[in-house]
Symmetry: C2
Subunit: 384 residues, 2 copies
């Protein structure tokens, strides 16, 4: 096992009818900016619940955060914070709203140059941030229990991540009933996103971490088991399992002492930035191809995954590892998630844009640091 540090101070309040607790979780003295997205929270009753809970409090609203939240939009929120005396940010929505809120929290206190630097330096320059909390309505990104955020910039077609312990939510309220009104496509995206998060921390090579391996397998098995009910009906137990599994997929527990990859996210972000493919859609395209491309390096863990999660007991390590790739693609298809670039009409000519960017930036990806622009091209060709 590798050495590690684990620190996660997020207070999770989980369950039916918990949204009202937002009142006691926010300091009554602080002026709150409520950040949200396209207004779905006004249709599903969540806005109403939050507004009722915070009745009488000093509250302003900032709506209009996009999926793959835009830097340009976040800067408008920062502008408002500078003119009003905001002391707390409350994100109400899914991972995009929360990621935007984390960035706004850091950007509002940023004393360097342009706040975009927060992203180009991965968060290392964040020295202060406004406190924030959230009411989560979409299980997917895990942002509710980590200190990471991914922001897109329209003007340059870039999508970059940052992390800082200063942007851990003070609290996250997770009421599975808020997911009842989600469209099937968003549920599907969440089921795939959470699965991919676990796998980026698992499908590498073993450094003797039997507990972490089993904890990871616990999360993906839970997602796979819940998927049918999550997509098929409004059932509290499966929504609750899904919601908690998505949080546990990326709250730092699974990465303790293990080797991580994150190549799928690195390439996937570019597919989103250039072609507008949803985040989870991009992961479902890249991950199986990456595993094929890095088969020799990853086959030990993939075979273990096949044995433990899908009970594949026959065959040698190679055939079990191949079974893991097949079963993963089957899982994606079972939730109606496409897995090819051609499903989005992205061609071989298109992928050159992505390859060029990796070449320009000189990124080196993968747990073995063996994936550069030429390998990105090979992987994307496997996705056509």
């Amino acid at each position: 096992m590798n050495n590690f540090e684990f620190y996660n101070p997020v207070r999770v309040v989980f369950g039916k009818g918990t949204i009202g607790q937002v009142r006691k979780l926010i300091d009554a003295e602080k002026k709150v900016m409520m950040v949200y997205g396209g207004g779905s929270i006004k249709k599903n009753g969540v806005y109403e619940q939050v507004a009722r809970a915070l009745k009488g409090r000093d509250l302003v609203e900032f709506g209009g955060i996009e999926p793959n939240p835009l830097y340009e939009t976040c800067l408008q929120a920062v502008e408002r914070i500078r003119t009003e005396d905001i002391g707390f940010l409350l994100a109400v929505g899914g991972g995009s709203v929360l990621d935007a809120t984390k960035f706004i929290a850091a950007a509002a206190c940023y004393e360097g140059g342009e706040p975009w630097e927060i992203l180009t330096t991965g968060g290392r320059r964040v020295k202060a941030a406004l406190p924030l909390g959230d009411v989560l309505t979409l299980p997917a990104t895990g942002s509710e229990m980590n200190c990471f955020s991914v922001i897109s910039r329209r003007s340059t077609q870039e999508k970059l991540a940052f992390g800082s312990p200063l942007v851990y939510p003070v609290f996250s309220i997770l009421d599975p009933e808020t997911t009842y009104s989600l469209p099937k496509k968003q549920l599907r995206n969440g089921l795939v996103d959470a699965f991919a998060h676990v796998m980026e921390q698992y499908a590498t090579y073993s450094v003797s971490s039997p507990l972490q391996d089993r904890q990871a397998e616990a999360v993906v098995r839970t997602l796979i088991d819940a998927a049918g009910d999550v997509l098929g009906r409004q059932d509290y137990d499966s929504r609750a399992s899904f919601m908690w599994a998505a949080t546990c997929a990326l709250n730092g527990v699974l990465s303790c002492g293990v080797v991580q990859d994150w190549t799928t996210h690195g390439i996937g972000h570019e597919l989103t930035a250039f072609f507008g493919v949803a985040h989870a859609e991009s992961l479902a395209i890249v991950m199986p191809a990456l595993w094929q491309h890095q088969f020799e390096q990853k086959k030990g863990k993939l075979a273990q995954l096949a044995r433990r999660v899908w009970h594949v007991i026959q065959g040698d390590e190679d055939s079990q590892a191949r079974a893991a790739i097949e079963k993963t693609v089957e899982y994606f298809h079972s939730v109606e998630m496409p897995t090819r670039l051609s499903d989005y009409d992205i061609t071989e000519a298109d992928i050159q844009k992505v390859v060029e960017r990796f070449g320009q930036r000189g990124d080196v990806l993968g747990e073995h640091k063996n994936i550069k622009a030429p390998q990105v091209e090979e992987i994307l060709k496997l996705c056509l």
Copy 2:
């Protein structure tokens, strides 16, 4: 799944050679009281490492904390804190030292009457505590990543627990190499203690918590797999797995949204208080008998445990559940842990003391609140 709240702000620093980090983890301005036990840390080099790391800092020592730490001893530490300007408590040792330090931290700031009230009221009256951190040398209790503490009182032969978010360690340094010098008996106790912690949160009845069930199974399977190497040799990987598993057994993750029991601990504490049986020893005696006594109520989860952890696939639910009890006893015996009262020369006459205390206190135990003094007697008779 039941509603739950999860909050755990402990910073875990895990791995080889991490003890030196204690220097940067403690505010240099604060006077530190280092709390430890019988001096084993002076033999195994841990004291030396801590002293070197804190060289030049304002540091006083308080040694002599016993296994099953005594209230009387803790009060001596509180007395010293009141005469010296201590700003931080550093526990160096196992769960007993840490539990004592938590109590000292709360008692030093207690403004009620006698500090024993902290224990009789379960920690509800704790309004302030000194900050504390620890260097853990014994994987067992999980105290390093929770806010609980158990203290014994010599004068009344009582052993009581308290919990308060104010006594979460600010940091816990876990270096698996510190366990190399532990006697086999302490390793054995840790392997059993951690197993029992998981089971108190698992072996009840299902409220649809598939992820938490699998997370619990992950911890016990890891303990079982590691046990042979832990007891047999000085092997880093198995010690690291054991140490992290013992922490994860009782850091709040496994109890999220599930039904808990803690009867085994309730009865076990009395065996320790009256007869001096070590904590883990008491658990190994009570748990199998409790499961036998509450068989109908617990058999669903026990059967699942047998299937998932020991791959018992034959037989009906009843026989699988019985297999779980047998396998648990086998696990205890495999680490050379006795499981009967007679192994400690405790007789049927002796157990009346325990039964009387439950009668006097009017305690009601168990996830169904169906265990009072008469049932405690029945359970203890099964342990003879």
